[in-house]
Symmetry: C2
Subunit: 399 residues, 2 copies
């Protein structure tokens, strides 16, 4: 157990997570990631119009290309809080800057929790000194725990490998559960690496890796005000620098994608109330955008999601959801398979054995394959079912 | 009670509903509406690509402008059933044509229930003789009952008034509950009238009336394969004919809109698992299409819907849903009120008393007013909340 914990460590990064009294009880609610030297930074943010205050601040600060710390609270999203919320975030950032003795511009912020309530700045300020004092090499798990809201378990992924003649580490943590719909991303995802990498290359590979991982998942089709994914690269591995169009950059991107995919899948598996992990693979589309729309039309159908929860092999709902996606479809050319079992093609049902299909619906992991017969573009979306617990968790969230 | 039932009657129309053994138990599952003479007809159908067989047949037949009967079954949608499903529908239509001794082209069909299963044609054929024999003046309620699926109560609306110097009647029936999202409409809506009206005028006012009623509701954002709204006008009232651009046509349209609005609202109130009736009014938009997108983005957010179910005054979710609608928004100009209480404006929360807001969330009927401050266009959508019962009903529907 101790050995396992020891593994979660990235050279040159310290972290910590504590309870600052933002949430009820003794739950951790304030986390910090800190690089001992300023690190290269890249980030992806939500496209929601009502970007939260920390997102607005981060979006400005990452433009300068360097960052050294990420402070995150749960229990309050500091979104839809206007100018006061913005000032609150700056206040907290100034307090941390003083304590860490680093430039305020090098501090990034993340918040998650209820939208529309003011940030408890005094509680956060009060916690910062303890938070900074407790920073340690193996504090990443505590930092991750501090940003959990309705997550049932922490989401951490780590990869080590030789890149550019040195051992490098990439470690990501994510907070997910609800309001999961790409555009971008998941709620909060932070990645730490000691790789030495060019700023532009970092930005490119991070966007690419997010696009093929966090941007293909959906739990409930709701895009949050706080979605933020940040990567910090402090270069302490001393590897041969990673630059554009190099084979070793490709190797780095693959490792990064592995980390992000593991986190993205964990977010879906731990989706609020989720009991199933569903892959929706749309192929044979005229364009990637068509494939995407078709896949999301199925992924976000509450009728499809409830059928999976109930293990009711009501495959017709998938066809109905596809048919309402708004993309041009030729009925005769479309085929649908669930768990490898062909259920519909040439506008005709092909389910020979409904019990066999029922058996597939009873599994925890289900693949839906749709072929549109219109081209060679494809898209894959990961989603979860819609259960009583989703309703329960969300009917009583803020109170 | 008997007196009340007596009222549901439209001159020249007979109807009936029986159990033909399609559904389990003794539940009515086969209904018929019959006009003693061929009637003018207009119709609106689903835009789902996978239109069910009865929809395909109706869409062809209504082009001729006359119809005399509508046969509807519940328990099977006859959708995603391909050529065989189409032949099944024709078989049933032929059987009814023989029994009623009317042209097959004058018969319209409706089906509702599980998608992707074959129509039990023999059961339906077996029921038709009994169905036709039992046709009577006061059979509309029985016909309505026969098309119910997860509806908790029948939906019937009737208006009488003097139009064109004669008493005319407009009576509508609707089947709703799930898969409710306009585009168009509700699952099945049939309107009978004895008004004498020009075919073109009928088509125009019916589309207008559907657009402002059934096309502004949503229960779960899912567009069905079977959505059909049909109006039959047999002209037996002998009124001065209703034609384009007449004041009396306007009067007729108002009566028709009243009937359809009553039905549309009943469909939302009886939405699967619904405990709340929520109006989302978006004003101050640059275009009607922007207003519509904003309204539906809120109406179809599962997080907004579950908050209402839980009576959790988590208004920030409405802002988050609005912010992810994809339309251009100027944050500073947007205001939000719930139940008349201002909660957000100029990018700042304005909720002084959260308990008062909580009280509003506890009501059965809730108005959400959004002002975008970008123009003078508006849109209103009616929707319901998302409850345990929605999940329960839909997790175990086909089995």
């Amino acid at each position: 157990m101790v050995k396992e914990r020891m593994k979660i460590h990235v050279p040159g990064f310290l972290a910590n997570g504590i309870s600052a009294g933002i949430k009820h009880g003794e739950k951790k609610d304030l986390g910090l990631i800190y690089s001992t030297i300023p690190a290269k930074v890249a980030a992806v943010f939500t496209k929601n119009t009502f970007r939260a205050a920390p997102v607005l601040i981060d979006a400005e600060r990452v433009k300068k290309g360097l960052a050294q710390a990420i402070l995150t609270n749960s229990g309050c999203a500091n979104a839809a809080t206007g100018k006061e919320g913005y000032q609150d975030a700056l206040y907290v950032s100034a307090a941390l800057s003083k304590q860490l003795k680093i430039k305020e511009d090098h501090i990034l912020l993340g918040s998650t929790g209820v939208i529309g309530t003011r940030l408890p700045v005094k509680k956060i300020e009060g916690g910062i000194s303890k938070l900074v004092k407790g920073l340690h090499e193996f504090g990443i798990e505590a930092a991750e725990e501090a940003m959990m809201t309705t997550d049932k378990y922490p989401k951490i992924s780590i990869r080590r490998g030789i890149v550019g003649a040195r051992d490098i580490t990439i470690c990501g943590i994510a907070k997910g559960a609800g309001m999961i719909e790409p555009n971008m991303a998941t709620l909060l995802t932070y990645v730490m690496t000691d790789a030495l990498i060019d700023a532009k290359a970092l930005n490119t590979v991070f966007h690419q890796a997010i696009d093929s991982t966090f941007n293909i998942i959906s739990v409930d089709g709701c895009t949050s005000t706080n979605d933020t994914a940040i990567i910090l690269a402090n270069g302490l591995a001393g590897n041969n620098p990673l630059e554009k169009a190099q084979a070793r950059l490709q190797r780095f991107r693959d490792m990064l994608s592995d980390v992000l995919m593991e986190l993205a899948q964990a977010v879906v598996k731990d989706g609020e109330g989720a009991t199933k992990f569903i892959s929706i693979i749309v192929e044979g589309a005229k364009s990637r955008s068509d494939a995407r729309r078709a896949a999301y039309s199925i992924a976000n159908s509450t009728l499809v999601k409830t059928a999976f929860f109930g293990e009711d092999p009501n495959w017709g709902r998938i066809i109905a959801a596809l048919g309402s996606s708004g993309i041009p479809l030729e009925k005769e050319r479309i085929s649908l398979a669930i768990g490898g079992l062909p259920v519909f093609s040439q506008d005709t049902p092909t389910v020979a054995n409904l019990n066999k299909l029922k058996g597939i619906f009873q599994k925890n992991r289900i693949d839906i394959n749709v072929h549109l017969g219109a081209g060679d573009k494809s898209y894959c979306v990961y989603t979860s079912d819609l259960s009583y617990d989703y309703v329960k968790i969300n009917a009583d969230y803020s109170t």
